[in-house]
């Protein structure tokens, strides 16, 4: 075990991964974001001009009537506003607490992208779609995770700010102007919502890929360490260094 650094715990133990505060804020955010997207759709239904297309051609319409009907969204503007302006505060407070916690606890070190993040994120993405066999070095999170988890925090801030800009365009007229006006702020608010929904889809897919141990670590906070399997002598490939690793780290480094 000479090549095992002394600070690496032996197999059979579980390493702390997510602090309690982060786990709570993560899981509280899930229903809050769901309620915000749902009530936002109740509001958006009342005026739904956005589309992807040019001239008379529309590639994607946000949204077709069938979408609203299927989700039971039409004719509930008042309800949507009431939920949105109530739960919006909880969403904002949870986000502010998360930023404060990660800043003061030092957790940000695991999360903030470093200067290699962009290039290494491409490598991670290529690996995840099967176009690359090796992964760049990583800490608790890989470069793509760092970028994404930091981006969603920025997105959350943009959501709160554009939301305030649409909600209070006189009291906070400077903020509305900062986003280019009332309708521009509404557009940004919508586009970032689509971004959140896409993030959610990829996040859940990656969690499923990474497996149970990784998922459970977001509940219990710890993840079991297990020995790296010996390199298979019948398969060509890079030699795996003899050390112990968390179940989800180098084996499934795309753990979200």
């Amino acid at each position: 075990m000479a090549d095992t650094p002394p600070d690496v715990p032996p197999a059979g133990r579980a390493v702390q991964k997510h602090p309690r505060a982060v786990r709570w804020m993560h899981w509280v955010n899930f229903p809050l974001l769901t309620v915000m997207v749902w009530s936002g759709l109740l509001i958006y239904w009342a005026y739904d001009p956005y589309r992807i297309g040019w001239g008379e051609t529309t590639l994607v319409k946000f949204f077709p009537d069938g979408f609203y009907e299927a989700l039971g969204l039409p004719r509930q503007l008042a309800k949507g506003m009431a939920y949105h302006f109530f739960f919006g505060w909880l969403f904002a407070i949870n986000g502010v607490l998360y930023v404060l916690y990660t800043a003061f606890s030092g957790e940000w070190r695991h999360l903030v992208p470093d200067r290699f993040a962009l290039e290494e994120s491409v490598q991670v993405a290529l690996h995840d779609v099967g176009l690359r066999t090796t992964l760049p070095p990583q800490g608790r999170y890989n470069a793509a995770q760092r970028l994404t988890y930091s981006a969603v925090i920025v997105m959350g801030a943009v959501m709160v700010l554009t939301g305030l800009a649409i909600w209070k365009p006189t009291t906070l007229a400077w903020l509305t102007a900062l986003f280019g006006g009332y309708q521009a702020a509404r557009t940004v608010h919508f586009v970032v919502t689509v971004g959140f929904v896409l993030f959610f889809a990829v996040h859940v897919a990656q969690v499923v890929r990474a497996g149970w141990a990784n998922f459970w670590s977001m509940v219990v906070g710890y993840e079991r360490v297990r020995p790296t399997p010996a390199a298979d002598p019948f398969v060509d490939g890079p030699a795996v260094p003899a050390s112990v690793v968390p179940a989800s780290a180098p084996l499934a480094p795309d753990a979200p």
Binding site: R13, A14, P31, Y47, M81, A82, T170, T171, R186
Partner: protein, 264 residues
């Protein structure tokens, strides 16, 4: 000294694995506990959600959310200065807004016979005015963004008298400045309740012109409210009565589940 790629890889690895660790037995204990806490929390969340959505209602809205509207109102009233002006635009940027909302405009109506009743808090008639009485007040033109509660908005040029000038002239007999103003169409089918701060704001007009021309019937001829401080639903068309009040006036949309205040 600059970090080599190998040093960086080792540092990153140490960051991930250098965290405190626990034994398998401790992990099992914590897993069981986390399972119970997660289950209990989910249950609390579900019960809380039921409580919000299926609890008592207040004007067609869960009472909790109505309270939420009131809390938001208190917060934003304290944050917004009565002198702050809504953004204004060049008149050339304005356009005729779409026609939206016919509540209170449906019955037969003779514009020439139109009068507006001014009432005190007890319902006592203070005045009956015609359009010339309003035109006699200083005329103000403003180009502001009309924001519909549905989400669309249009820049519109309004012409009319400040409500504050109107109140100074026609409500001066009232014993005190009252906190609310209620507005109603002549048939009483559409009502709007406003707080005095918004009504006394310099951009709250009794408007008789839109885009430089007299109001058309579907836009509320001969006189309507125009204010950029609230969603368009508050800018009542075809005013039939103005009542100064000490209690919160009736409001058509607030009775139908919307926030009473909806201030910008």
């Amino acid at each position: 000294m600059k970090e080599t790629p190998e040093q960086r890889a080792e540092r990153l690895r140490a960051e991930a694995l250098g965290a405190p660790s626990i034994s398998e037995a401790e992990f099992q204990t914590r897993s069981r506990r986390a399972f119970l806490v997660a289950g209990a929390s989910a249950l609390v969340g579900a019960v809380g959600w039921q409580w919000v959505t299926n609890g008592p209602t207040d004007d067609r809205l869960p009472a909790v959310l109505r309270d939420g509207h009131r809390l938001n109102e208190r917060l934003w009233r304290s944050l917004s200065s009565p002198d702050r002006l809504a953004p204004t635009f060049a008149a050339s940027a304005s356009e005729m807004p779409r026609v939206n909302g016919r509540y209170g405009l449906r019955g037969p109506f003779a514009p020439d016979a139109w009068t507006m009743r001014v009432l005190g808090p007890d319902g006592r008639l203070l005045d009956v005015l015609d359009l010339d009485d309003v035109r006699a007040l200083p005329k103000v033109e403003m180009t502001t963004e009309l924001k519909c509660i549905e989400g669309w908005s249009q820049v519109v040029t309004w012409g009319g008298a400040r409500f504050s000038d109107f109140a100074a002239r026609y409500a001066s007999r009232l014993p005190a400045r009252l906190p609310y103003v209620g507005l109603a169409t002549p048939d009483g089918a559409y009502t709007v309740g406003m707080d005095a701060a918004a009504m006394g704001h310099p951009q709250t007009l009794l408007a008789y012109e839109m885009q430089g021309a007299p109001l058309t019937p579907e836009h509320g001829a001969p006189l309507r409210l125009a204010t950029p401080l609230k969603y368009g639903v508050k800018s009542l068309k075809r005013i039939g009565a103005v009542r100064f009040m000490d209690a919160r006036p009736q409001d058509f949309w607030a009775e139908r589940g919307y926030d009473w205040y909806i201030g910008h």
